[in-house]
């Protein structure tokens, strides 16, 4: 062991980037001036010790409250208590509101987007990746709209089949191109506000073709009405389209 004191690195005031970048509390840095050879020869003003106190205090306080907020979210999810920022979107309520105003599609659609957009993203865990690149592969996956509906210009591999003893007409409207993503249809509810419901819906997935078939079975004796339902993406719970079944 060397008898003299070992030379050590200095203790640094800061050891991590400050990504806050709000620009609000950024005092001049203390420390060495730049060397003469630099293109930037302008030196930074020296800061006094006093300026350090407010900066450090506020910086520390920001870090504290941000960490606190992050933990609060996590904890709230773990407990049965709903979160501090307004609660988990209640799917049932939203669906109801949508169906009531299904005539005014635009507004209702955006109301839903409103809800989903406010949802905390931490609910969606990372999945590991989006699969290999498709370019150059000769076996292109299936595309093309299905169901008796016009998809809005961009195609998706989704079909809806209906089994019913009564005559029916079906309309499927899909938003955006999400071919292959897993969607489900929760239920078809009567638009006239009655409690009538069609929920015998089975999803069949054909992974090789990237195709999903939703098989709707209408029970015998189901009253005639207009039934509406929402297609949601399974993983993120975002709405992907609507299904409207007119039972005559």
């Amino acid at each position: 062991m060397p008898s003299k004191q070992r030379i050590k690195r200095p203790t640094l005031k800061r050891t991590a980037p400050d990504r806050r970048f709000s620009g609000a509390f950024r005092p001049p840095e203390t420390g060495a001036s730049p060397s003469p050879g630099t293109p930037n020869a302008k030196g930074e003003p020296k800061s006094t010790k006093k300026a350090g106190v407010p900066y450090e205090a506020v910086n520390g306080a920001y870090r504290l409250v941000d960490e606190y907020l992050r933990q609060g979210q996590k904890m709230a999810e773990e407990l049965w208590l709903p979160q501090s920022n307004g609660g988990v979107p209640d799917v049932g309520k939203v669906v109801e509101r949508f169906l009531r105003s299904a005539g005014d599609m635009g507004t209702a659609w955006f109301e839903m987007m409103n809800q989903w957009a406010a949802g905390p993203p931490e609910h969606v865990a990372p999945n590991g990746g989006a699969g290999p690149f498709a370019a150059g592969r000769r076996a292109a996956h299936a595309s093309g709209a299905n169901g008796a509906a016009a998809a809005g210009g961009l195609s998706t591999a989704l079909s809806v089949s209906v089994e019913s003893s009564r005559k029916f007409r079906i309309t499927v409207d899909v938003f955006g191109a999400h071919s292959g993503t897993d969607v489900e249809l929760v239920a078809l509810k009567a638009a006239d506000g009655s409690a009538a419901l069609i929920d015998d819906i089975v999803a069949e997935r054909d992974p090789t073709e990237g195709r999903i078939t939703l098989a709707v079975r209408v029970p015998k004796g189901q009253p005639a009405a207009v039934y509406n339902g929402i297609l949601v993406e399974k993983r993120t719970q975002r709405p992907r389209g609507t299904v409207s079944l007119v039972l005559e």
Partner: protein, 713 residues
């Protein structure tokens, strides 16, 4: 090298006495280059510098200024001789009907040059606003191409003046967009991007849900307008893909509240980029677009080198993309006019040697020994293999002069080495961690031979030399396990026909996103004058790609072995390296026969083979003409040796990187693009930033505020 440079800045008054211990005979690691027959440049791969590499460029500019070369004597005397703008780029687009097309992009030059003083400070709202502005440009481009007729309702004019961005203002704009969206043409969408840009600038202050709704309304309008066109027109389709991606980025940034998150882009690092884009509404087509493929290719973002597993941390990638596209100065890419060793490491070497830094070549670090576990954590011992000794005990002279320029050779100057002939005959591989042959060993002790250590070995070398650190310290264990590297492959062609003759009619290009096994091509004809050909080649092409990790790669710890087993391990490793080289050669030949045709249609014979006769024959490899034997005269490399592997930024791994500022060991700091440099991507800029951080860790200079981009969302 950066750390050494910073520690010996004149302003520090010679406080630090620096010695650089380098394995082998060249500085630069992955960035080293050599010179072969005819003085041709032989690189590890393609090194393109980006216009946002503020720290790296500043270093080089200062270095060249200090070097003070006489422009009459040296073909590369100033930094602008060494680096030239490369604005013409391309990505390989795969159209739905199965054709490969080059999608050419000409980035506009931007004022200033990287490394200029006082770069602007960007915040996330700034980036999002720029993204909206870019969106507007793209939509305008589509509008022109699609020649849509606009129905222009009278209220349309109300959009043209930027609305006051209160929540009310935004709500109004949203209402109008909804009202006219389906009917009006793309003009409405363009005006909407004006509103969006204003909104994003003040993003944290506006209700997030409102902006989200606005985005979706815009998305809706665009889809309706473009839907039918996408099938017909390739250029509309490509633009749509980028528009879709931009919308996803903006939408995701809002949803994830990036503008308010103290972690900035790091908040997204648990996700893969494409996964994140998809989560935020990007379509399958867009995440498979040429554009995205090129980004992954340039970052070698394939786990284990397997191109079926594209993975990159979404946050680091997005940060890199934002900086690349929105903060570049001068040009998007910059090319070097000679080998990276000649342009970067030779000048650095000369400047540092002049400053009095000592260089000990042929010193291969084998072990970092710590002090006793009960005392203060520190580095007590450094163990080296002295691979070769220099005759007469003189310092090794590493450079040679080629075409008037000091360069690094591809092989060491055996004449300077003791027993040089034998070393040459026995093919000692001085740049491989696996070749355990040495002339001697050497141990440096703290307090006697050194005080503080900057550990700057390559990322994949760390597990070999830091066994004690890994054993004792959980964070080092985690880092070594999670922060991964990947091998790469590359080849270079010298041709006697120009590119036009090969069927490429456009200006010299950098192209990426093409097929495996070589997805990236750069036209490097500009370096021909720096080589020493009697007749200069008419075209030079560099290709590179990731290389799959071989299951039989040597991994065993070479230190804990007897002499005999060390010899055996060395031989096995040498065989492995040779096999990998053969594999790369096969890949290259296959590529040239099968895949290059789409890029160079005139480079094929009638029987759809590559026209091997366009290759300039090699001097020493005497086989010329016959079939792909001509390829043997070209250059190829398998970067499988530990110090040649490329550092990746896989999802969920950023948090395991250790920062050079970490003070756990009071006389150790680290440097390299595998450390937590704040940029956290495998590139020169990250390496330079880490070097500056390492210097700061020791001397508190440069100030952190001086390290451009360190404090960046």
């Amino acid at each position: 090298m950066t750390a050494a440079y910073e520690l010996t800045q004149p302003a520090l008054g010679g406080r630090y006495d620096v010695t650089v211990y380098q394995m082998g005979f060249r500085l630069g690691g992955k960035g080293a280059s050599g010179r072969g027959e005819h003085g041709r440049i032989e690189e590890h791969g393609l090194h393109l510098w980006m216009g946002y590499y503020e720290n790296a460029f500043r270093l080089m500019r200062e270095c060249y200024a200090e070097l003070g070369r006489d422009p009459r004597r040296f073909p590369i005397a100033t930094w602008s001789d060494a680096f030239v703008p490369a604005n013409f780029n391309a990505v390989a687009d795969y159209s739905p009907d199965g054709r490969w097309l080059a999608w050419l992009v000409d980035f506009p030059p931007s004022p200033g040059s990287p490394g200029d003083p006082e770069p602007r400070r960007w915040t996330i709202p700034d980036y999002l606003a720029r993204a909206a502005a870019l969106l507007r440009t793209l939509i305008r481009t589509v509008e022109v191409r699609a020649r849509t007729t606009e129905s222009a309702p009278a209220e349309h004019a109300a959009f043209t003046s930027p609305p006051t961005l209160t929540a009310d203002g935004l709500t109004d704009a949203l209402g109008r967009l909804l009202k006219y969206g389906a009917l009006a043409g793309l003009g409405v969408a363009i005006e909407a991007t004006n509103v969006l840009e204003g909104a994003l600038r003040v993003a944290p202050a506006l209700p997030q849900s409102l902006i989200a709704r606005f985005l979706d309304a815009l998305d809706d309008v665009l889809r309706r307008q473009l839907g039918a066109l996408l099938e017909q027109d390739d250029s509309v389709r490509r633009l749509w893909e980028v528009i879709d991606l931009l919308l996803a980025v903006i939408r995701g940034s809002i949803r994830f509240r990036l503008a308010l998150d103290p972690r900035g882009f790091d908040a997204l690092d648990a996700y893969d980029s494409r996964e994140w884009l998809k989560m935020n509404g990007a379509s399958e087509g867009s995440i498979n677009s040429a554009f995205i493929r090129a980004l992954y290719d340039l970052a070698f973002a394939y786990e284990g080198g397997d191109t079926d597993r594209p993975r990159i941390a979404a946050g680091s990638a997005l940060r890199g993309a934002m900086r690349a596209f929105f903060t570049y100065r001068g040009a998007f890419f910059w090319k070097m006019t000679a080998g990276m060793g000649d342009v970067v490491f030779a000048p650095l070497y000369e400047v540092l040697a002049r400053r009095g830094i000592r260089f000990e070549f042929f010193h291969k670090l084998t072990h970092v020994g710590l002090g006793s576990p009960s005392g203060e954590p520190h580095v007590a011992r450094l163990e080296f293999d002295v691979q070769a000794r220099v005759r007469g005990g003189k310092p090794y002279e590493p450079l040679v002069e080629i075409a008037g320029l000091p360069c690094w050779p591809s092989r060491p100057d055996f004449a300077q080495l003791e027993d040089g002939e034998r070393l040459e005959r026995e093919k000692w591989d001085f740049e491989s961690q696996w070749d355990r042959r040495r002339a001697a060993t050497r141990v440096l002790r703290v307090g006697k031979d050194f005080d503080v250590v900057v550990l700057a070995v390559g990322g994949a070398v760390v597990p070999y030399v830091c066994r004690e650190l890994v054993e004792r310290d959980e964070r080092w264990r985690d880092m070594v396990e999670h922060v991964r590297t990947v091998p790469t492959q590359a080849f270079q062609l010298w041709m006697n026909t120009d590119m036009r003759g090969l069927g490429w009619p456009h200006p010299p290009v950098n192209l990426s996103g093409y097929v495996e096994p070589f997805d990236t091509w750069a036209d490097m004809t500009l370096v021909a004058p720096r080589e020493a050909w009697r007749t200069a080649p008419r075209a030079i092409a560099y290709f590179c790609n990731v290389l799959r990790d071989a299951p039989d790669a040597p991994t065993e710890d070479p230190a804990a072995r007897t002499e005999a087993s060390a010899r055996a391990a060395t031989e096995t490793a040498a065989r492995f390296v040779a096999e990998q080289y053969r594999l790369v050669r096969d890949h290259a030949v296959l590529f040239l026969n099968r895949d290059v045709a789409a890029l160079w249609p005139a480079a094929m014979t009638e029987s759809a083979q590559f026209r091997w006769d366009v290759l300039v024959p090699g001097a020493s490899k005497a086989r010329t003409g016959a079939g792909n034997g001509a390829f043997d005269g070209q250059f190829w490399v398998a970067n499988v040796r530990p110090s040649d592997r490329y550092t990746q930024a896989l999802p969920g791994t950023t948090k395991y990187r250790i920062s050079p500022l970490d003070g756990t060991y009071d006389n150790l700091t680290i440097a390299g693009d595998w450390t937590n440099s704040s940029l956290n991507m495998g590139c020169v800029e990250a390496a330079v930033m880490s070097g500056r951080l390492a210097a700061h860790a020791i001397s508190e200079s440069p100030a952190l505020a001086e390290i451009v981009g360190y404090d960046h969302p």
